[in-house]
Amino acid sequence: MEILAHGKVARGGPGLGRARPEVVHEAKGVGPASNDGFDPAALGPAHSASGKSKAAVVTGPYASLAKRGDFSGTVLTASGEIFVSVRVAKTKPGTERPMVYLAGLAATRDRSEPLADKLRDDGGKTIIAILLEGQGETLLRDLEKHGGQSISNDISDTEQVKVVLEVLDALGVHAPVDILGLSYGGAIAAATKREAPDRIRETLLVAPHVRSQAKELMGVAAWQLANSPWNPFGHSMYRTAAKATLAKAFGGLELFKDHPGAFSEALFRLSMGIDKNELADVTQGMENLHILVAGKDRASPLVHNQAAIDAADGGSLTVAPEAVEDEHDLVGESPELVVRWVTERLNPERLEKLPPADT
């Protein structure tokens, strides 16, 4: 990988500031699957708890989370039931700063857990993979219980940030975490850092959403249509076009076979919720920001990622190898590459233990 540019000197950058008071967090009865009878096992088997036998001796700021061990299930929050996959580091789980992972627009458990597993197994990280409102099993639960209330309106980034913070609270994680986001998840990760800088240490974005798809990707014609001051119906025409094209491009998901139309409605609501966002605005003055992007990614152009780094107060922009230069979903295409990049940014001392990336 080529590190294209470093931002201004990061304060508390990768590898720094890990010394923390050793405190023991006891579970207070708030936690995963604290719900109204919904059985997370119905969604599939959770991974085995790595720290169970050591629970009694786990200490550190993240001991509360570490003691629970690995699990996949819903977490009850004020925003609703949110599907979470936790993978606990096998070494020093109580002190290893967890990383929240937010996947792309069409995230599901099947798509987000493989990276979580890899980041735990190869990267030595504790991962909290969250399926946000409108995504995957979180949406499925909402459809089953509330008829899809979460997708009755556009879902803004601030609503999603609230979900992230509520999940951390529910898991008893109050010390700072790192956050990693892919594409749509990248926009939410950056927004989380902006909204709650004290809760987030390092922000890592992979091919993040950088600006309106109408403005950047879908052509100036679409942007003009959406914002034309002479067309009273421009905005509704643009939204209708966005819904139709997203539905066609993403197709359907087996997960939602009993809820026709729900998946495309969710894609639409998620996209429109951040359609007016500009990443460079969000990252203004942000510390410890790192971005990984493919050089020819049309959905996350390099130039706008550079602008986001320039706006930040410290960080780095890394361009993925040529072998994946056209790819947007770098996580799906080369999870090894992403694990290596995360390790380079956060735990360079662990690099030599990593298996080589294919790319």
Binding site: W230, F233, A241
Partner: protein, 212 residues
């Protein structure tokens, strides 16, 4: 001249959504990381879905826009007509405002969508109130069509066209001024005016004399 000059201002925007849908589909496909082809069949499917929903939502969208516009118009200006029509890929949207006095024209700002900043559909216009005439001068709304889109489309049918009509009932015969650019068409129907275009083809000056 202090006598109010009632006026009716209409704007019609005609969009061929074909090129836009194609580009949006390409963009969404790229976002999805999908290997799906953006061929004619895929585009036809998207268009079918787009058209069906747009037609279904026509009344709802009109009510939504009417509410937003009405809320933002100043006193003395009313929304007289609002329409959206679709013929295949071509969607034509229009609205007509009735002004108690032409002098309100430069200050009108219309918001079609709640919560958005008010927009300026009539461009940067200035009205000079002379003793026997009103002079309207300034720039119509700037609309620059992406040359890449226009070129790729390769035909005028794929360009965005916009028409601006201004009618002044107090005055006499109509005059048409048509200014055409790449994929952009302006038509000014102004009554008894002295209209002229200058170098950039978008500057207008209209002189409205008091009726004799």
């Amino acid at each position: 001249m202090r006598t109010p000059v009632s006026a009716r201002v209409g704007i019609e925007a005609r969009h061929d959504v074909g090129p836009m849908l194609r580009r949006m589909l390409e963009g969404a496909t790229s976002l999805a990381g999908s290997a799906a082809e953006c061929d004619e069949s895929a585009l036809a499917e998207v268009f079918h879905s787009f058209a069906a929903e747009l037609d279904d939502r026509a009344a709802l969208d009109a009510a939504h826009v009417r509410e937003s516009v009405t809320r933002t118009l100043p006193k003395g200006v009313e929304l007289e007509a609002l329409k959206r029509e679709r013929a295949g890929f071509v969607v034509t949207s229009s609205f007509v405002l009735r002004l108690d006095d032409l002098r309100q024209l430069p200050i009108i700002r219309v918001a079609f969508e709640p919560g958005l900043l008010r927009q300026a559909p009539f461009g940067d216009l200035r009205i000079v109130d002379l003793e026997q005439a009103i002079l309207v001068e300034g720039m119509p709304p700037p609309l620059t069509l992406n040359p890449e889109v226009a070129h790729a489309a390769g035909a005028a049918a794929h360009a965005i066209a916009l028409t601006l009509d201004v009618r002044l009932p107090l005055l006499e015969s109509n005059h048409s001024e048509v200014v055409e650019g790449a994929g952009l068409c302006w038509r000014f129907d102004l009554a008894r005016l002295a209209a002229r275009s200058e170098s950039d083809q978008s500057w207008i000056r209209a002189r409205f004399a008091a009726p004799s």
